[in-house]
């Protein structure tokens, strides 16, 4: 593999900024989908289960 390398990047000079970008997008998708699934698909659905014990 090393033959294909253009440069060696050490620990201190590497900031995974692209990873941070990708994972931020993932985070936002998760939050939006969670809210949609919980409050629209689930809590907004029919036959709401309640805790009234008859």
């Amino acid at each position: 593999m090393s033959s294909e390398l253009e440069r060696e990047i050490g620990h201190d000079e590497f900031d995974p900024v692209g990873t941070l970008g990708l994972i931020t997008i993932y985070f936002l998708i998760l939050v939006v989908l969670w809210i949609f699934m919980y409050f629209v698909e689930f809590a907004g659905g029919d036959l709401t289960v309640v805790g009234v014990v008859v």
């Binding site: 253009e6 692209g18 689930f42």
Partner: protein, 583 residues
């Protein structure tokens, strides 16, 4: 890492044979399991029904057992054996012992498989259409339970084999850190033994004696709870070898180094301590278990997201490191510099991408009350086809393109076909899993031969039912084609000739190495102790409550179907025959 260079086969020919055999066993299971898969797709969607709907469940049992137990576990014992041998740079302690556990696992699979397939042999009163979860009072032939028990004992002995290697290595290297791949294999073994003890108790103390007629009935909720005590940890048993490959192989193949060895250790320790005390989240909708216990299981499950979320960062950062070393630049432009031509890389990267999607449906599944929406619907099946069916299976297939030359000394027959294969899998799973999730949300149940009912129609939000079914058919067909392509590449590689100049055996270096990891992380006794303690805390009260409510052996319901009478009859006939011969 090894002082001797060369392939794994050059370094450890005897161990390579073990790993190879385990892989081939896993591929046979993959083929039969995938065949069952396509049959189910066509059956459920009513395109082609070659068996009676009553027999569909035998196919489903075979599909699940062969793919989630045989395919994945045979492959992972291979990977862990490779990982321990390579990273400790020493052979296994006693190969006769190694072959013994392999033999037990193979025998177990065979017995369970015979029990399931018995349903299709006229005159043979044998069946095990109990699915992978074998909830009592559904009853399987004793061979099925015996097979599962042997298989699991085999995996325990395999785990002990890796521990024996490590103990021997530690004597020679008292002051060294446990190499990361070995650390991963050992922590996985620990939680595997801890969790599978539950299913072992369920099978050996209750189900097997019950199927043999020694006890009359079992407590359905108790055996079900013992199954799920094991049933969630088992998914991490499948997943950990994929994680091992993402941590130790993917950075190397990307042209970089593992971003952080210490965090990788933290992740595996978290899995060790949190994998088992979560199983009750599969029982959110079970009567007989207090809401408080369900809530505790949920909190544990939610925190179990943490190691996976950390993994996402560490693995992607390692890939980014590789891409930037290869000349990639920009915020996202580095993605172009990754080795997409290599099926090993692309397969694993796509598997990881799908695992990110699976993470979301898993978060929904983990939620306690939202479970009313998705429980036992096809959504759940869509979810685990992204996890074990892609994150694990696709990673394993991709890894095979790296391992096979290491194990056989032969070059991959066609890397291009390998690339096509992993891409076809990704597209196929996109269609199939998407449709499964969406059908689940409108209430289509899982585990049914005919989801078409006479009394009502499903209310489809987007598109139509026909369209959703078409997605499943297209997806399932592509997945089956992908499996065939994979097996073609494997077979053609294996029957090819040995070549020189294969890459050396090895795994990725680290940017931040083990020297940065606190020593306490390597204290396996401590973590195993905490794991056991958490399990006791999470499970003692629910189990005690279940036993107090229903009794240890009931109230059970009647076994269905019963094999006891047949067994007694067969036994008597056999005894008479033997008696007659002797006389």
């Amino acid at each position: 890492m090894s002082t001797e260079s060369g392939t794994f086969l050059d370094q450890f020919p005897a161990e390579a044979k073990v790993v190879r055999t385990a892989f081939y066993s896993s591929f046979v299971a993959l083929f039969v399991g995938a065949l069952m898969g396509i049959l189910q797709v066509l059956h459920r969607t009513d395109v082609l029904r070659i068996v009676d709907s009553a027999d569909y469940y035998s196919l489903l049992t075979l599909h699940a057992v062969l793919l989630v137990l045989s395919f994945s576990v045979f492959f992972l014992v291979g990977i862990f054996t490779w990982a321990v041998t390579t990273s400790l740079d020493r052979g296994l302690q006693d190969l006769r012992y190694t072959w013994a556990w392999y033999g037990l696992m193979a025998l177990g699979t065979l017995l369970a498989g015979i029990a399931v397939l018995g349903a299709f042999i006229p005159g043979l009163d044998m069946s095990a259409a109990v699915l992978y979860t074998f909830y009592a009072p559904l009853q399987a032939h004793p061979f099925y339970y015996l097979g599962l028990a042997l298989f699991i004992v085999g995996t325990w002995l395999a785990g002990l084999d890796w521990f024996r290697s490590w103990w021997a290595w530690k004597k020679d290297n008292p002051d060294e850190r446990i190499p990361l791949p070995t650390f991963m294999a050992l922590t996985t073994t620990l939680f595997w033994i801890l969790s599978s003890a539950g299913v072992a108790v369920s099978v050996l103390a209750f189900l097997l004696p019950w199927s043999l007629g020694i006890i009359d009935q079992v407590n359905a909720l108790l055996t079900r709870t013992l199954f799920w005590y094991f049933g969630h940890a088992v998914v991490y048993f499948w997943l950990m070898p994929a994680y091992l490959l993402w941590y130790t192989m993917l950075p190397k193949i990307s042209g970089g180094k593992l971003f952080s060895d210490p965090l990788a250790r933290v992740v595996f320790v978290l899995f060790l301590i949190l994998s088992t005390p979560t199983g009750i989240h599969h029982q959110y909708l079970d009567p007989g278990i207090a809401e408080g216990f369900k809530f505790i299981a949920m909190v544990n499950t939610m925190f179990l997201l943490l190691p996976s979320l950390l993994t996402a960062f560490t693995v992607v950062a390692s890939m980014e490191h590789g891409a930037r070393q290869r000349g990639g630049s920009g915020l996202f432009g580095w993605l172009r510099a990754l080795p997409w031509r290599d099926p090993v890389f692309t397969g694993m990267a796509l598997a990881g991408l799908m695992f990110a999607a699976a993470g979301f449906s898993g978060m929904i599944n983990a939620g306690m009350n939202i479970n009313y929406l998705v429980h036992n619907t096809w959504w759940v099946v869509g979810h685990f086809h992204l996890t074990v069916g892609t994150a694990v299976a696709l990673t394993f297939m991709a890894a095979t393109y790296w391992f096979l030359p290491q194990l056989t000394g032969k070059a991959i027959w066609s890397k291009s076909l390998g690339l096509v294969q992993v891409l076809v899998w990704f597209v196929g799973m996109t269609f199939m899993s998407n449709s499964m999730h969406r059908q689940g949300l409108i209430g289509v149940p899982r585990r049914t031969a005919e989801p078409q009912y006479s009394g009502f129609d499903y209310e489809v939000a987007v598109g139509s039912m026909a369209e959703l079914n078409m997605q499943v058919i297209i997806g399932g067909t592509l997945l089956f084609i992908s499996t065939l392509l994979f097996l073609t590449v494997v077979v053609m590689t294996v029957i090819g000739d040995k070549v020189d100049g294969l890459p050396d055996n090895g795994y990725a270096d680290t940017l931040s190495g083990p020297e940065d990891a606190p020593l306490v992380l390597d204290n396996l006794k401590l973590w195993a102790g905490i794991a056991a303690l958490l399990v006791i805390l999470a499970y003692s009260l629910p189990l005690a409550a279940i036993i107090t409510r229903g009794g240890i052996l009931g109230p059970g319901g009647s076994p269905s179907p019963q094999f006891v009478d047949t067994l007694l009859f067969v036994g008597r006939v056999a005894a008479d025959t033997v008696g007659g011969v002797i006389a």
